[in-house]
């Protein structure tokens, strides 16, 4: 039967860990994210009893040495997306439930990647090495138990609940450990002498119908016996693939900005293709001094992951964003969303055959063939061998490759 295959992966004190990563002087110190209200607290602060959310004033009373920071929310989104990409490498059946946690079912990946605990160790190592963040993972036979296990694993750990040992693991835990049991429900149960999940399991289902309501009472009882029929709903990650480039004091020249867009399109396209995904909505953000951010987006009739299409669309969005602007652009970000797996491509009749934005058109197919060759070359010889065309001093101008690909049929 092997090991259970449901993983719950949860980043440890996510916002606070990011702050400690961005500013190493914060490492090992209590950190509070959020001025006014604590949105997240590092483990060092939690040791003093700080919880989130809590007024910052109260938190500082508990932990006077704490450093209060504003938070870098764009950075959180970006890093979250990177972490989810690592998770997606482990299994396509992934259900992201918040910015910092997700369920995975790895049953289809074990023949390729090893046992679930091997996969989990690999995820933890990659998230630590490639992204620099601590993540805890619980493995169990149900989502309910995996979530409890990851909470037990924190910080920075891995807990596996083997088949057959579920109830031994579950029943000694306090009822508060259950997903869905808050302070009020716990107090309610305590009044009847129900302290542990085992206590709850020992009373008949429906015993608390009057105090908790029949639905909640039955549900909690089922969970106390680890009966949780919910499956990991894969492929539902709304998600996006994005990249951004800061431009120092800024650029105003449309040609130079077009090169930036091309670079972003290249990065996003490559990452999307590596994941076998396409997206139909492209959003471009342009930041101006101030800072002031303008955002423009467009949704295509069919999804794409082609670098050429993303560059063309990104260029058009950028022109719209900077129209009438005299100030320099200090940052350009692009993100591809409305993602779908791209196993299938509806081909087009030879109408508008030269429109690269039409997925399945003749030109699109040629550009895709080019993407495949460029990806292969980079995979084999390293990313730096091929840079995109508008920066000839940086390497081989791929326009030649484009022509090659377009004439190769």
């Amino acid at each position: 039967m092997g090991e259970p295959t449901i993983l719950h992966a949860d980043l440890d004190a996510f916002y606070a860990s990011v702050e400690q990563m961005l500013d190493p002087s914060l490492k090992g110190r209590p950190v509070l994210v959020g001025v006014g209200i604590v949105l997240a607290a590092s483990y060092e602060a939690r040791a003093h009893g700080v919880r989130s959310p809590m007024p910052t004033r109260d938190a500082l009373r508990l932990c006077p040495d704490a450093v209060v920071v504003h938070g870098h929310f764009e950075k959180y989104l970006d890093l979250s997306s990177q972490v989810m990409e690592v998770l997606e490498d482990a299994s396509p059946i992934i259900e992201q439930i918040s910015i910092d946690e997700a369920f995975l079912d790895v049953r289809g990946s074990t023949h390729l990647l090893g046992t679930p605990s091997t996969i989990a160790r690999c995820i933890r190592a990659r998230v630590a090495d490639e992204i620099g963040l601590p993540i805890s993972i619980g493995i169990a036979s149900t989502k309910f138990l995996a979530k409890i296990a990851s909470a037990r694993a924190k910080p920075g750990g891995l807990v596996v609940v083997p088949f057959g040992a579920e109830l031994d693991f579950l029943h000694p835990l306090p009822v508060e450990a259950m997903w869905g049991v808050g302070r009020v429900t716990a107090a309610n149960l305590h009044r009847y002498g129900i302290m542990t999940i085992g206590d709850l399991a020992a009373v008949p289902s429906g015993a608390f119908s009057s105090s908790l309501g029949p639905g909640a009472s039955g549900a909690l009882h089922a969970l106390s016996w680890n009966r949780d029929p919910r499956v990991v709903r894969g492929g539902r990650r709304a998600g996006s693939i994005g990249s951004q480039q800061a431009l120092g004091r800024g650029l105003t020249d449309p040609d130079e900005l077009a090169v930036v867009v091309l670079g972003l399109a290249d990065r996003i396209g490559r990452r999307a293709r590596k994941k076998g995904r396409s997206g139909s909505t492209l959003t471009l953000r342009a930041r101006f001094p101030g800072p002031r951010v303008l955002s423009r987006s467009h949704t295509l009739s069919s999804p794409t992951s082609s670098t050429a299409a993303l560059a063309e669309l990104g260029g058009a969005l950028l022109r719209r964003a900077i129209e009438g602007e005299s100030e320099p652009v200090t940052l350009v970000g692009m993100s591809l969303s409305n993602l779908s797996t791209d196993d299938y491509l509806q081909l087009e009749l030879e109408i508008d055959a030269g429109d690269v934005l039409r997925a399945g058109s003749t030109l699109d197919l040629k550009r895709r063939a080019l993407d495949v060759s460029v990806d292969e070359i980079r995979e084999r010889f390293g990313r730096d061998l091929l840079k995109l065309g508008s920066a000839p001093e940086r390497g081989v101008a791929p326009e030649e490759f484009r022509r090659l690909a377009e004439h190769s049929d």
């Binding site: 059946i93 299938y344 081909l347 009749l349």
Partner: protein, 360 residues
């Protein structure tokens, strides 16, 4: 104006004219139906500027005149009156609809705001109404609903060797239908959206069709439908039609449609249906990673250079095409998995459906 007529007769002319009235309109007055009474005739006009429907009925006229009345409200109100005769009376401020008890009072819209309707003489060629409705049903399935590609939202009308040819494409599929012996003059790109309204607005046994410089005009004893032509050039579709096909299979149409009905249970969204043409017929299969699959073999007559040929299609597009075929059998002609296939009835027929495959 003041008229009286049987509820069902009134409801009929109002409801059909109201088919041209859109839910959202450029001008508030376009929410209304122009009702004009002269002699013994009530004439009703609804328009959204692109599509105009005019109907008329003989009624009992107490007073001539004209008014613009909110279209949906008027036609629904009349339809919901008790059976029997209904009176519509218009004063300067109010419209009264009454009969056998109930009485509606509606506010009129401003008559002078209603776009002026240039009168056209019913001229042109006569077409069998049933055949025209059938042809419209067959070709409009392939027209595009993508507002960004207005030209593909049209049906090309052009004269051919045998008569009138109608063509539509959304760039994934193309439908072509010949109406033999219909000598319609000229060429025009007629909006599919308006064309679909023809059977329900002025459908009759005989319809007269006419292509004018800016519009297509269809008339019958039920009224007149005017469609503003789409500007632009329709794609050169002739070159899209393959000249020869190495493989083909002929199968029973209902058997294929039943199979596609089962396939679409599994194949939602963009999951393609895979066909394998081979000796003895065609294998139809669909698989979906997280759901499961369905597969079956349909008997048929296969001819081909290769032993078998595989191709995948969007199941809905395939279903549309097969449904549009008239006759008992369907012929699917295939070049390869990346080139357009052609679906028709197998006989040298008036209807043809060209479909691009899905790359898997």
């Amino acid at each position: 104006m003041r008229i009286r007529a049987q509820r069902d007769d009134l409801a009929d002319v109002l409801t059909r004219a109201n088919r041209a009235v859109g839910a959202r309109t450029a001008l508030p007055v376009l929410q209304g139906l122009l009702c004009e009474v002269a002699g013994t005739t009530l004439r009703v006009t609804g328009t959204d500027l692109d599509v105009t429907v005019r109907t008329s009925a003989e009624v009992e006229v107490m007073e001539e005149g004209r008014a613009v009345i909110p279209g949906r409200l008027l036609s629904e109100a009349v339809r919901k009156m008790p059976t029997g005769s209904v009176t519509i009376g218009v004063s300067d401020t109010d419209i009264e609809i009454q009969g056998n008890g109930p009485r509606f009072t509606l506010r009129p819209l401003t008559v002078d705001d209603f776009p002026v309707q240039e009168d056209v003489v019913a001229d042109g060629v006569e077409v069998d109404g049933e055949e025209l409705a059938e042809a419209i049903g067959q070709v409009t399935i392939a027209a595009s609903g993508d507002g960004a590609r207005p030209i593909l939202g049209g049906v090309l009308f052009e004269s051919s060797d045998s008569g009138l040819r109608m063509v539509a494409t959304d760039s994934y599929r193309l439908a072509k239908r010949e109406l033999r012996g219909v000598g319609l003059e000229g060429t025009g790109l007629v909006p599919a959206r308006g064309l679909r309204e023809l059977p329900r607005s002025i459908g009759a046994a005989k319809v007269t069709a006419q292509l004018r410089e800016r519009e297509a005009v269809f008339t019958s004893d039920k009224g007149m439908l005017r469609l503003r032509l789409i500007d632009g050039n329709f794609p050169k579709y002739q070159s899209l039609l393959p000249e020869s096909y190495p493989s083909q299979v002929v199968i029973d149409k209902d058997v294929l449609l039943d199979a596609l009905g089962r396939v679409t249970l599994v194949a939602e969204d963009h999951i393609p249906v895979r066909l394998k043409l081979m000796e003895g017929g065609v294998e139809v299969a669909v698989t979906r990673q997280d759901v499961g699959g369905e597969t079956e073999h349909l008997p048929g007559v296969f001819e081909g250079a290769e032993d078998e040929v595989s191709i995948a299609f969007n199941p809905r597009y395939l279903q549309d095409g097969v449904t549009a075929i008239h006759g008992d059998s369907v012929r699917i002609r295939v070049i390869d998995a990346f080139k357009p296939s052609v679906i028709d009835s197998g006989a040298e027929d008036e209807f043809l459906y060209l479909l691009m495959p899905v790359r898997v």
